[in-house]
């Protein structure tokens, strides 16, 4: 019950000291009204993140959006519209809610703890005033009827107490509040679980062509994003070899909307864990590989043309499967081959087309995602591959310090068009290139989230607590008895904190039981 804070005009409010203000602030923050307000605010605050592209999800689209909206873009950026869920204002909302939540749970737990260990309260004087009421008369003595009432209520799993000879108090449904506290506490631990994952978790991406393998170390990954408290030296160095990467596309129903759409991807892997334990498994979408220190998800796939580059003397300069990045649903893929071992460095950029077709308007495209008629279309550059040793993507060539190679007659840029098994002689005595074949690659995301267990169990506990608190009814039933000569007048009253449609029925049931029972005796 809210204490009345209204004061008469002639009584001056006591001045609040700093402690007083703190207390007042705390009480405001932990009130139900504030919780309600913050909940609604959280809902509203989450919305912009679904409207504007988010940097953490799609940095390219975000940059593009900002570029296209010259005035609003930068302003919205300052307001955190593109990083809503890590923006100060969004964090402020959930942190306040979090504090409010704790500030609400603690005192309620104390109150409930006490309630759990105390007797149901004394019966009100006039039970007829309660929400539910029934009465009757029965032959017998106070003692007998009181014993019967106690038994009837105990039988219904009420906690029963008598504060005097002529009344019985009973209460049931303590689990409602227990469930409620479990629910709110579980929300706190859930947030802690998320935070643990954030601070001590890491995620990494790596592209592995069929036949290749990798060892889980920070430097081996293409990208590595550790949480702030991750100790990178503690990564468990398991090794994974992709024995085969398979893909299945719908090629059976030409004309259907799903023609050419992927049906299934699967990476068959051989795993060697840190302790030497080796096994084979397959990683699929919806079927990650769970290991002790990390989980491996198959999130991407594509083609890696296998190319051999030799110098004039036939010495191999470059050989291997080079992943090309798919640009559309038919896997028109772009990539780069960097021949860093050559005396004068050179490289290739271009397209890989699994089912190549030269479109009069669009030029070389792919018309189907599977390798029905693969081709590699490339141009060649000579010069410095890694100017200033800057890091660069494996999928692109930094041509800033390079020069495009032209055909022998110098009229046009050199264009290579190779099908598997074909080769070409490179101009200026640079050697030869052959397109040996195509492998698929698996795009893995490797993640470690030490908080996920806590998060999941908290979520399930919250659900259980919620169901308990919403279904269980907290009921108090009182019985008052008055001896009037030979008969005992029986008053049964019930009260509930909730909307309780069944209360009257129970009260009447108990009345009937008491009155009926002693009549027969």
């Amino acid at each position: 019950m809210a204490r009345s804070t209204r004061s008469t005009p002639d009584v001056t409010q006591p001045k609040l000291g700093p402690i007083g203000y703190l207390r007042w602030g705390w009480r405001q923050l932990t009130s139900m009204r504030t919780a309600l307000f913050l909940l609604l605010l959280l809902a509203i605050g989450a919305v912009p993140g679904s409207v504007f592209p988010q940097r953490s999800l799609d940095p390219a689209r975000t940059a593009d959006w900002i570029a296209r909206h010259e005035t609003t873009g930068p302003t919205l950026d300052k307001l955190g519209a593109f990083e809503v869920y890590s923006s100060p204002w969004f964090s402020a909302i959930y942190l306040l809610l979090f504090i409010s939540l704790i500030g609400c749970i603690l005192p309620r737990t104390a109150v409930h703890w006490k309630a759990l260990r105390s007797k149901p309260p004394r019966a009100p004087r006039r039970l007829a005033r309660l929400e539910a009421h029934a009465d009757g008369e029965v032959d017998g003595s106070l003692e007998e009827v009181r014993a019967a009432a106690t038994a009837a209520l105990r039988g219904r799993r009420y906690r029963v107490a008598s504060h005097d000879d002529a009344s019985v108090s009973a209460e049931k449904g303590y689990a409602k509040e227990t469930g409620n506290l479990i629910f709110h506490t579980a929300l706190v631990t859930l947030i802690i679980g998320v935070a643990v994952g954030h601070l001590w978790g890491w995620k990494a991406d790596i592209v592995v062509p069929s036949g290749d393998s990798f060892v889980s170390t920070v430097t081996r990954y293409d990208t590595f994003a550790p949480g702030p408290l991750v100790d990178e030296s503690t990564l468990s160095p398991f090794a994974i070899e992709v024995e085969e990467m398979t893909a299945d596309f719908n090629d059976r129903e030409p004309g259907a909307a799903t023609f050419g759409q992927p049906r299934d991807f699967e990476a068959h892997v051989k795993v060697v864990e840190e302790d030497g334990n080796a096994f084979t498994d397959s990683v699929k979408v919806n079927h990650p590989l769970e290991m002790k220190g990390a989980t491996v998800f198959l999130l991407g796939n594509g083609y890696a043309p296998v190319v051999t580059v030799k110098d004039k003397a036939g010495e191999v300069l470059y050989q291997g499967a080079t992943p090309f990045l798919a640009q559309d649903g038919n896997y028109r893929s772009t990539g780069a081959i960097k021949v860093g071992a050559a005396k004068e460095q050179f490289g290739f950029v271009g397209l890989f087309l699994p089912t190549a077709f030269i479109d009069p308007d669009q030029g070389p495209i792919s018309v189907f995602p599977d390798t029905k008629s693969p081709a590699l279309a490339m141009s060649m550059y000579t010069g410095e591959l890694y100017p200033d040793g800057r890091p660069q993507s494996v999928f692109t060539l930094d041509t800033a310090s390079m020069e495009k190679v032209e055909t022998k007659d110098g009229k046009d840029a050199l264009r290579l068009w190779l099908q598997p098994g074909e080769g070409a002689t490179l101009p200026d005595g640079k050697g030869t290139i052959t397109f040996d074949g195509v492998e698929r690659f698996a795009g893995f995301s490797v993640r470690h989230d030490p908080g996920k267990g806590l998060t999941l169990w908290s979520a399930l506990a919250a659900l259980a607590g919620l169901i308990a608190t919403l279904t269980i009814k907290r009921r108090r039933v009182f019985v008052r008895l008055v001896q009037e000569g030979e008969v005992v007048r029986v008053d049964v009253g019930g009260m509930s904190k909730d909307d309780d449609e069944g209360l009257l029925e129970i009260v009447q049931e108990i009345r009937d039981e008491l009155v009926g029972q002693s009549r027969t005796s």
Binding site: A46, S50, V194, A257, R263, N286, P288, A459, S496
Partner: protein, 324 residues
Amino acid sequence: MTNEMLAQNANYALASAALVITVAMLCYALYLAQAVPVREQATADAKVPATVGGGDSAEPGTTDPDEGGAAAEVVSETPARARKAAGIAQSLSWLGAALLLLSCIFRGLAVQRFPLGNLFEFSIAGAFFAMAVYCVATLRRDVRWLGVFVTAFVTLLLMVASTAWYVEADELVPSLKSYWLPIHVTVATLSVGIFVVGAIVSALYLMSDRGVGGERFWRKLPDAKSLEKFSYSLHIIGFPLWTFTLIAGAIWAREAWGSYWNWDPKEVWTFVIWTVYAAYLHARATKNTSRRTANWIAIAGFACIVINYTVVNFYFIGQHSYAQ
């Protein structure tokens, strides 16, 4: 049967369901038009000033001792024709629900997957669940007054779904292939079905409470306080189911995309809906917040559901975008 035939049958079942439910709506409308204001007489003698309260009972005057009596009067006073119309409507509602279920099953057989892969299929399943929730409610209490509103909503939904949102039966992209899909989306759709009915009752409460458009009409329905309680009892079933949806969705997201929470637009809205309904329950439990405010929040929650299934699906780019 071939797939095309199954898909065709799904559409026939859907068309029949739409027809049946439309007729049910007309019968319910007829019933409500002829129903005698049930509380006309009841209100006269029910307004015994019941000074209840004392201790920390929820609110004064919670019980209305004459409610039972008033309900009994409905039966005796409503013309036979209206009662017959309601009876027909009720049977048609069951039939309509069954046909919708049949349509879902045919669709599922035709595409050889769980038939909840796009907005069209969501709508049909959502319509089924809304009808089913209503039909189950008829078993437990007299909700004939509610029929016209639910069937009208469902009719509207079926119309929009089969014209604007219709898509041919087809397969799924790999990330949708998981046993979490049936679990997650079935429960989501079931809770949406419950929230639909809950929102309708909340809206009726808000109007009844103010006697929007004439007192007499509202007296044909249960009083505002009963409407409000009924709405609450629906919402407290829907909310845990939605909570489960959220959890199952997170588990599925981790399996499919590697992270249980990505703040993808669809996830954001599932969360927003959850938060708004949590706020509704809070508002209802907060002593100095009115029931009207609470029910407005419930309506806002439903508005978020509508946005989630329409605007978010079509306009916001995210990993769920294939659900169009």
